[in-house]
């Protein structure tokens, strides 16, 4: 496997979606290529950083309006 092929397979690899033969070639390449090992690590770091983004919240007004609407909703 070449580096230019490796970089396109990273997401499929992380999803466990590579067929066994391709996965073996992917791992073999990884073992021999520091640049691609770094590339894979950078992908992992990117994914982790995305997962740690702080959340935005609803405005207080909308939240209050929804809580009131829920309270006043007619129920049997």
């Amino acid at each position: 496997m070449n580096c230019d092929e490796f970089v396109e397979l990273v997401t499929a690899y992380l999803d466990g979606a590579l067929d066994p033969a391709t996965e073996r070639r992917f791992i073999d390449h990884l073992a021999q290529c520091e640049g691609c090992e770094n590339y894979l690590d950078q992908f992992r770091t990117t994914i982790q950083a995305l997962g740690e983004l702080p959340a935005e919240s609803l405005s207080g007004e909308t939240r209050d309006r929804l809580l009131a609407a829920f309270r006043d909703f007619p129920r049997p």
Binding site: N2, C3, D4, E5, V7, E8, V10, T11, A12, D15, A17, C33, E34, G35, C36, N38, Y39, D41, Q42, F43, T45, T46, I47, A49, L50, G51, E52, L53, P54, A55, E56, S57, L58, S59, T62, R63, R65, L66, L67, A69, F70, R71, F73, R75
Partner: protein, 227 residues
């Protein structure tokens, strides 16, 4: 899914459903506060303004407590809520004439097909190692920022990168990597195939990685200058 903050677990879906249907305000407050941030981000991928996204989330919650009696538990409660959100947001996006071509007409399909790393970083066909990183072009390890100012810098870079993504990339990336949904759920929510989902996700991640590489590369260069 909520890896960003440690929160107490929500009651199981069947308990929540019964409590919501009965008008239990505490239960509603729990899910409202827990799920709205993710819903807001997701809505933002379909509509043009933050205010509009907030209205979509509001409309979704109204639909949820009006329809909770009809929830049959065939998906998780949160997935059911997210589906309502996507429907609501898409309908509004159409009104705003901002629709996301998920599978893409031909030009989009073509733009989804090229390499995600600049081909000039690899050795050419006449090189003894064609397709391998050119000298000086191989990715270098990043030094993870430790102090808080740098962490917020990195978040700003990521925020800019997200804003620059085509909407169809961003929506998949948000669901998978920000909300933590699995590939099956994302395919179902957006009505796309697993292969299509993976292509969009990979291209989105590759673009964000590229922005981070530029940022870390510049930071490293600056550090070298100081030596």
């Amino acid at each position: 899914m909520d890896s960003r903050t440690v929160l107490s677990p929500l009651p199981p879906d069947d308990v929540l459903t019964v409590r919501l249907a009965a008008g239990d305000e505490e239960a509603f407050r729990l899910v409202l506060d827990r799920w709205s941030p993710g819903m807001l981000r997701l809505a933002r991928d379909f509509v043009s303004t933050r205010a509009s996204a907030e209205e979509v989330v509001q409309e979704t919650w109204m639909a949820v407590f009006r329809g909770i009696a009809r929830f049959e538990g065939r998906s998780s409660l949160k997935t059911w809520v997210y589906r309502i959100l996507v429907r609501t947001a898409k309908a509004r996006g159409v009104k705003e004439q901002r629709t996301i071509p998920m599978s893409g007409s031909l030009p989009e399909a073509e733009s989804d097909a090229g390499p995600t790393v600049d081909p000039s970083r690899f050795r050419g066909p006449d090189d003894p190692y064609p397709g391998h990183w050119r000298p000086g072009q191989a990715p270098a390890p990043w030094n993870a920022p430790e102090d808080r100012a740098l962490v917020s810098e990195v978040r700003r870079v990521i925020g800019d990168a997200l804003a620059a993504l085509p909407a169809r990339y961003r929506v998949v990336l948000s669901l998978r990597d920000i909300e933590g949904y699995g590939s099956d759920e994302v395919c179902e929510l957006l009505g796309i195939t697993a292969g299509n989902q993976r292509v969009l996700l990979h291209r989105a991640r590759a673009q964000v990685r590229r922005r981070l590489e530029e940022y870390f590369g510049a930071a490293e260069g600056a550090a070298d200058d100081e030596l």
